[in-house]
């Protein structure tokens, strides 16, 4: 699992959705929807990234902008998941 969650998320978003825009201009709290970075497939890519990189499971009812619409929110979701299931973290 990457040492710095925010950095890993930022890197993923830069590579997957920001072909051109300077990644440094994206703040941790910026809405990915408002910035026009995420489309319907983008949500699926994001969930796939979170699950495969951090070894956590994102339930269907958790696929919400509240959990996934900024770097900060995604990091927070991952931290909550990891805290709730330390076994997964070890794996």
């Amino acid at each position: 699992m990457p040492a710095n969650v925010e950095t890993a998320i930022r890197k993923f978003i830069a590579h997957s959705f920001m072909y051109r825009e300077g990644v440094d201009s994206l703040k941790d709290t910026d809405s990915l929807l408002d910035k026009g970075l995420i489309d319907s497939t983008g949500v699926l890519e994001l969930v796939f990234f979170v699950e495969s990189t951090f070894g956590v499971k994102v339930n269907d009812d958790e696929v919400l902008p509240e959990n996934l619409d900024s770097i900060e929110r995604i990091a927070s979701l991952i931290q909550r998941k990891l805290a709730a299931s330390p076994a997964t973290c070890v794996a």
């Binding site: 072909y19 825009e21 026009g36 489309d39 319907s40 497939t41 796939f48 269907d60």
Partner: protein, 652 residues
């Protein structure tokens, strides 16, 4: 169906007229492999590549009138030529042939440039009036048949496809950055602009007259719709019968040909209607063709076979694989002559080949029904978004979004909050004249992030949406929102993409002519007068069509929701069996050479396409758009067709 070429003025490049006309005709010989002909006088010349359909023995072109003062080169059909010839004969015109080409000559003798108004057809033609020293170009109302023109000095040259113009000395292909920006907004350039600077498309429903050193381009017909405030009652039963009778007649006159007419069968409502009309109202033997896909996401063969069984047609289908699409894509781009952001033209290119291999030169299709009678999901989307915008805080209204695009797997599985977020774009602008289309255009415009610094600079502060806004007719603001959205589809996307890149160009690549009963201008004008509730009733699309034609169709087809024709996209260009040209065209070196796209940004997109199986609409559109521009550059800009020896140009 054929290819036309010609010039008006001095012959460019000091070539003999015959050499020039033959060279141009050769470039579009795929459109008319049966016969070729040319005619030239002092100051003007015409060329023709013929696909013989009507009056096989005596319909040769260019054709002239009795005293050889008027000549015509003609691509397409005048479907009402039988009736017009009777009228013209009563006025004393003598006919030497039984072809619709001669109809044009005599109608021109009667009405001059207004002759087009009498024609019910799909046509592009040129008339060389020797006595008046005048050249006239005309194009059908809906833009089924193409014609392009440019100027070499004071000489006007024209042709069915731009590749023939590029064979003229002095005509060079140079990308028009504004046209590229328009394609990456709307999916097509706004006519008269084309992919290449200085080459123009005659817009649908327009006539060009060149005489006395002037060139005059004017519309003779345009789409129009009932005023939003027009509450005059319309009897639904009577309207249903009228639509029925119009479609029967539109189909009947489109079966006029001296060769067998086949039909494309997609499995959807529209092509099922046209096929059923042929079956029920004519004695024509029914031969149908369809394209199938490996993936169930795109394949409609189950419904196609249901119609085949119901109508008892003799049917052939072709399986179009991802490898096929990847393989033929460069050839498709050679024919479209414009960037495309979907692969959808490629399977239709394969389908036309199938029809041709089975001996068919003419096919009937259901094209146009979605534009004319309101079938597309974008109309429903706009209706729901508008309903929602009136109470933007409502939680119940956006639940209707669930009914949109059920065929888009990635979208239909979205949680409600995300679905709402995607469709919320532009919700705060319910009065914007393009309310229906802003989300689509906004998404397409994301391709622009790949522009190179040079292209960004060339495009400057040009705003494609504002440009289009300035072109809207005066009465646009008086139409119902559904009519406004229909106008954008029927007046722009239809000729700009559906009838060209997905229509004429890929069919004529194999010398196959499409005929479209729903685009008969009587049907189009009738539908424009209908109140919106007879087109989109609630969220039931093409309401009146279902009502009047349901009787001829199996119930599953009659009630089937719209399933738009789609094909696999980026998956065709990556993976172990990817075609070689993809890596080359999208390499940093080629991108730098062409200079239109940023190699780093494009490199990231290519990397993503190669490494992940999940690619969204936006990435798909960007990939197709970039790849097609790169291919166009190689095919036309780097080696303009006219600079190749003719043999080499033919072997490509």
């Amino acid at each position: 169906m054929c290819g036309i070429v010609g010039y008006f003025g001095a012959v460019p490049g000091g070539l003999p007229a015959r050499t020039l006309l033959e060279r141009m005709t050769q470039q579009i010989i795929h459109r008319g492999p049966d016969e070729q002909g040319i005619h030239s006088d002092h100051g003007g010349g015409l060329g023709h590549a013929r696909l013989s359909i009507i009056d096989l023995s005596s319909g040769q072109q260019p054709m002239t009138n009795e005293d050889e003062s008027i000549w015509v080169t003609f691509n397409g059909e005048i479907f009402n030529y039988v009736e017009l010839n009777e009228q013209l004969a009563r006025r004393g015109h003598k006919f030497r042939t039984k072809s619709d080409t001669e109809t044009i000559l005599h109608q021109y003798e009667e009405d001059g440039r207004d002759c087009v108004k009498a024609f019910n057809g799909d046509f592009a033609f040129a008339i060389w009036d020797k006595k008046a020293h005048r050249l006239m170009l005309a194009r059908d109302r809906m833009g089924v048949r193409p014609v392009y023109y440019t100027f070499v000095g004071k000489t006007l040259v024209f042709a069915s496809e731009m590749k023939a113009l590029l064979a003229v000395p002095g005509v060079e292909a140079e990308f028009d950055p504004i046209a590229i920006d328009q394609v990456f907004t709307f999916w097509f350039p706004l006519p008269p602009r084309t992919t290449f600077k200085g080459i123009f498309e005659l817009p649908p429903g327009h006539v060009l007259v060149a005489e006395d050193g002037r060139v005059d381009v004017k519309p003779y017909w345009r789409l129009t719709y009932r005023d939003r405030d027009d509450l005059a009652p319309v009897d639904e039963e009577a309207a249903s019968e009228e639509l029925h009778d119009l479609l029967v007649d539109a189909t009947r006159i489109r079966l006029r040909a001296d060769v067998p007419v086949g039909a494309y069968l997609s499995g959807g409502l529209d092509s099922s209607v046209t096929t059923a009309l042929i079956r029920n109202f004519t004695s024509s033997p029914l031969r149908t063709f369809s394209v199938n896909f490996e993936s169930a996401e795109f394949d409609e063969s189950e419904y196609q076979m249901e119609m085949v069984r119901a109508l008892g047609t003799d049917h052939s289908s072709i399986l179009c694989t991802r490898q096929d699409i990847g393989r033929v894509f460069p050839d498709v781009i050679y024919h479209t002559e414009r960037p495309i952001i979907r692969t959808a033209p490629a399977p239709l290119y394969q389908l036309a080949k199938l029809a041709r291999e089975n001996g068919f030169k003419v096919v009937m299709t259901g094209e146009g029904a979605d534009e004319v009678l309101a079938g597309y999901d974008i109309f429903k989307e706009a209706k729901i978004r508008r309903f929602w915008a009136r109470q933007a805080g409502s939680h119940r209204r956006p639940v209707l979004l669930r009914q949109l695009y059920p065929y888009l797997v990635g979208l239909s599985g979205q949680p409600q909050p995300y679905l709402e977020a995607f469709f919320r774009a532009g919700l705060d602008k319910p009065d914007h004249p393009f309310f229906s289309h802003l989300p689509r255009w906004g998404m397409t415009s994301r391709i622009k992030q790949f522009y190179s610094a040079a292209l960004r600079c060339d495009v400057g502060d040009y705003n494609a949406v504002e440009d289009l806004r300035s072109r809207m007719p005066e009465d646009y603001g008086r139409w119902h929102p559904l009519s406004q959205a229909q106008y954008l589809e029927a007046g722009y996307l239809l000729p700009g993409y559906i009838l060209s890149s997905q229509g004429d160009r890929v069919a004529m690549a194999h010398a196959v002519e499409g005929r479209f009963p729903f685009l008969d201008h009587r049907v189009v004008e009738f539908a424009g007068r209908l109140p919106p509730r007879l087109k989109l009733r609630g969220l039931v699309e093409k309401y009146l069509l279902r009502k009047c034609m349901g009787r001829y169709l199996p119930e599953t087809i009659a009630r089937r929701p719209k399933q738009p024709y789609r094909a696999p996209d980026s998956a065709c260009f990556f993976g172990s069996d990817a075609p070689d040209y993809v890596a080359e065209q999208l390499s940093p070196q080629r991108l730098t050479e062409v200079g239109l796209f940023d190699p780093d940004a494009t490199g990231r997109l290519v990397h993503k396409c190669r490494s992940t199986g999940v690619i969204g609409f936006r990435d798909n559109m960007a990939l197709m758009g970039l790849l097609s521009v790169q291919l166009l550059q190689e095919r036309f800009v780097a080696t303009p067709a006219g600079k190749l020896p003719i043999d080499a140009a033919l072997s490509v």
